[in-house]
């Protein structure tokens, strides 16, 4: 079996499970944990597809996606710090 196809299937399934945690999370920080891991999953999927089809422009897309995910997670956690929204 093609290993890149296996990586794509497994990481798609794990990002779907992270989406379950985003929907069901009791607090907003649980949703942030799921979002952080889902961004990493999708970055790995994009990099695997770029190496499989030899479209190396997609590696830039993966880098920009990782940077945007990191900045968004830091911004949302700084926005939620000190606010008691979970009660």
């Amino acid at each position: 079996m093609n290993p890149f196809l296996l990586i794509t299937y497994v990481l798609s399934a794990t990002s779907f499970l992270c989406l379950i945690r985003i929907v069901r999370g009791p607090t907003h920080f649980d949703r942030l944990i799921g979002l952080n891991l889902m961004v990493f999953n999708i970055t790995a999927i994009i990099a695997a597809q770029a190496v499989q089809f030899k479209r190396y422009v997609y590696l830039d897309v993966a880098l920009v996606y990782a940077i945007l995910g990191f900045v968004s997670v830091i911004a949302i956690s700084k926005y939620l710090t000190g606010r008691e929204l979970h009660k």
Binding site: P3, A44, L63, S77, L80
Partner: protein, 99 residues
Amino acid sequence: MIFAAYFFFGCGIFFMIFGVLGILRFPDLYTRLHPAGKAGTAGILSIFIGLILYSGFSPLSLRIILIALFIVITSPVASHAIARGAIESGIEPWGLKKK
């Protein structure tokens, strides 16, 4: 070289599956941060090492190394920011709630 790449792909898939299982099954936010950090660094880093070994030594694998370095630097920072925000907004840990 190809079999080493397959070994690292298997390691990455293993870490990702059990990390996400821990995120779904653990009881608290602070315990969920532990498998999230492990899956975010170890799993993704081993998948990227496998991609580097598969594509060989080229300027294109240098770009994959750049993405892997970025993820290794920023994943603990994100986990620390989430934990600090949760502490400062008053979420209690799981074991202390039963007293």
